[in-house]
Assembly symmetry: C2
Homo-oligomer: 122 residues x 2
């Protein structure tokens, strides 16, 4: 699968997340460290293919791999996930606030219109 070549951290994070195998690996890692073999188990995939996915995850900073043990277990890193959530939440909030303001404005408009009509009827 061709990968985009992101130039910034946030793009790397989102690109790494844009694959169901990699997300399944991250989900597995929420239960604790795992070796490449353990991570590979649920997938019908060659070890080189698994290794490629892990490299994308490692490069994005979503996981780190121990330098000491021979199995070089993988573990999750929360900083990139946190940054991604922050970006999304910030923009979602901006947009929803805008929709709320629009709703409030329309409600106000409707109220004024009704008032005008009632005054005309008097």
């Amino acid at each position: 699968m061709p990968m985009p070549t992101p130039t910034d951290q946030l793009s790397e994070t989102f690109a790494a997340l844009a694959d169901p195998t990699r997300r399944a690996m991250l989900a597995r890692l929420t239960k604790g460290e795992a070796s490449v073999q353990e991570l590979a188990k649920p997938f019908k995939m060659s070890l080189p293919a698994i290794s490629k996915h892990l490299k994308v995850l490692e490069k994005s900073g979503l996981i780190e791999r121990a330098r000491v043990a021979q199995s070089r277990p993988c573990r999750l890193q929360t900083k990139p996930i946190k940054d991604a959530v922050e970006w999304l939440e910030h923009h979602r909030k901006l947009w929803e606030d805008r929709l709320d303001n629009l709703d409030a404005y329309l409600a106000e408009l409707q109220k004024n219109q009704k008032q005008n009509e009632t005054e005309k009827e008097k």
Copy 2:
């Protein structure tokens, strides 16, 4: 830039977010609807390039384009952003709970060890 070919909604969302131009477009759209020309303004990019980015955003469901007006203004959709945040938050929480449990376990271990040492000294 070659794009991956995601097969599921969440992958499409993350792939669409993995580009600074597309994220800047989404950020602009939090301020309200905009035409393609308005969205293109801040970028030194050809209209076809802009159009390509918009198609990725539209296909992922992050934006929708009005079918009525001739300018077909773009507007943000929150459902895919919400789903992406939920996925990330869920897994971040699982991982952080795990780290908290590990911390608590280590603290307990340390406490027991100290108690044992104090009892031995008696």
